[in-house]
Every structure is written in structure tokens, then in C-alpha cells.
Amino acid sequence: MRVTVRLFARLRDITGAPELVKEAAPGDTIGSIWRQLVTQYPELAGYERSISSAVNADYARMDQQLRDGDEVAFLPPVSGG
């Protein structure tokens, strides 16, 4: 199955792409996708403890399992307002 990964702010600068498409296996979680990304872009590791995550534009915990077509997002610490 496939999921779309959205990256914002400095995470996007690190990966060089606002959006990536990833292959995922049944049972894969948001956390599995994140670990794949960290392997690919080691600079992301610094965000391990400060990122938030979302699935389909709603906050979701890292242990949430993914379904085909999900949009996963990783959010660095926010600075709106």
C-alpha cells in the first residue's frame, strides 16, 4: 500500500520535498514511516522528541497504524500567531 507524507517548515527544507510517496506494509505505523525518513535523511533525527504527527489532517499518535492512501504529516514545533 502507499501513503503520502507531508513535511513542513524545516522538515521540508531538510528533505527538499514538501510531499513524498512511500510504500508501506500492513501493520506499518506513523512511527515506522518516520524511522524510514530518519534513515534516509539523518538530519531529521534531531526532531525525534519534538515533532507531532497527523493522519489525514488530524492529530494522531506515532503508534497509529496506516491504511492505503493515508496522508501522513510530520509537524515540527509550531510558531503560528
Binding site: A9, A54, A57, V78, G80, G81
Partner: protein, 161 residues
């Protein structure tokens, strides 16, 4: 003419009066309207800022605004909220966020307005990149977690509830 929505995020310049008009007077029951405008400052952390760029995860930001709206309705029944956040390039002095609260009594309108801006800073998936003389930097504030009870309690505390 299209009615102004109460919750939006987008590149259009912000103005207060249309939001106040959109929130209405609740058919004469409102006695207080409080507004907050966040403006781009020319200095931050000792740096001379030249402009900002705001980026948002727009559909998720709207859901965060709806969550803030629901939190306010639960905490201050009867208060109504309008919240517009701008994204894109903003010059010094321009408004990045406009918030309006309306209520029968002023204490609730003040508290809810302050609460709303604190919560935007806690949970809205929006980021600003600061361009200053000599470089630029992404500003990173709070780790966004809508279920962080401590952050929510702190927002209630500063709102003087």
C-alpha cells in the same frame, strides 16, 4: 456577496471590521466584543527583521481552529469566536492573525480572546520563517499536542478565567 467565514486560513490581508460584522451582535444579546491582532514586528530576539513568511498545513489548521472554537464553547458558554490566520509573505506591521470574540459580558469576551491566541500558538500547524539582515530562520515554538492538559491549563490561566 459571499459571507465572511468565521474560521479561515489563507493569503488574504486581514481586517477587523469584516470579522466583527461576521460574528454579529447575537440579535442584541452581546454587550462586549474583543479583538486581537498579531502584527509582524521589526525586531525579534535582537535581530532586525525584514519580513516573515508563514506556512500552514491548511486543512489541519482549520480543524485546529474548530477545536479551539469547541474548547471556548465548553469553557465560556455563549462566547462566539472568529479567527483568521494569514499565510504567505508578510511585511513589517501587517497582521498575521485576527481574532474576535463576542459575548454578553466583557470578562468572558476578554478571557476567550486571550485563550484563543494562546491555543493558536500551541496547536495550530502553522510556522513562520523569519527573514532578517544576514539570513533567515524557521521559528519553532511549542511541540503541538492538542491533548496536552498542562498547556491547555496554562492558556486558561493567562486568560484570567
Amino acid at each position: 456577496m459571499v459571507a465572511t467565514p468565521l474560521l479561515t486560513i489563507g493569503p488574504a490581508a486581514l481586517a477587523i471590521e469584516p470579522l466583527v460584522a461576521a460574528i454579529g451582535g447575537n440579535a442584541g444579546a452581546d454587550g462586549a466584543v474583543v479583538t486581537f491582532l498579531g502584527l509582524v514586528r521589526n525586531h525579534n530576539l535582537g535581530r532586525a527583521v525584514t519580513y516573515l513568511e508563514y506556512e500552514g498545513y491548511e486543512p489541519m489548521a482549520l480543524r485546529a481552529f474548530e477545536r479551539i472554537d469547541a474548547e471556548i464553547a465548553a469553557r465560556w458558554p455563549g462566547v462566539r469566536l472568529a479567527l483568521h490566520h494569514r499565510i504567505g509573505r508578510l511585511e513589517i506591521g501587517e497582521a498575521s492573525v485576527a481574532i474576535v470574540t463576542a459575548s454578553a459580558h466583557r470578562a468572558d469576551a476578554f478571557a476567550a480572546c486571550r485563550y484563543a491566541i494562546e491555543r493558536v500558538k500551541h496547536i495550530a500547524p502553522i510556522w513562520k520563517r523569519e527573514f532578517f539582515e544576514g539570513g533567515d530562520v524557521w521559528i519553532e515554538g511549542a511541540t503541538a499536542d492538542p491533548d496536552d492538559a498542562r498547556a491547555r491549563a496554562e492558556a486558561e490561566r493567562v486568560a484570567c478565567a
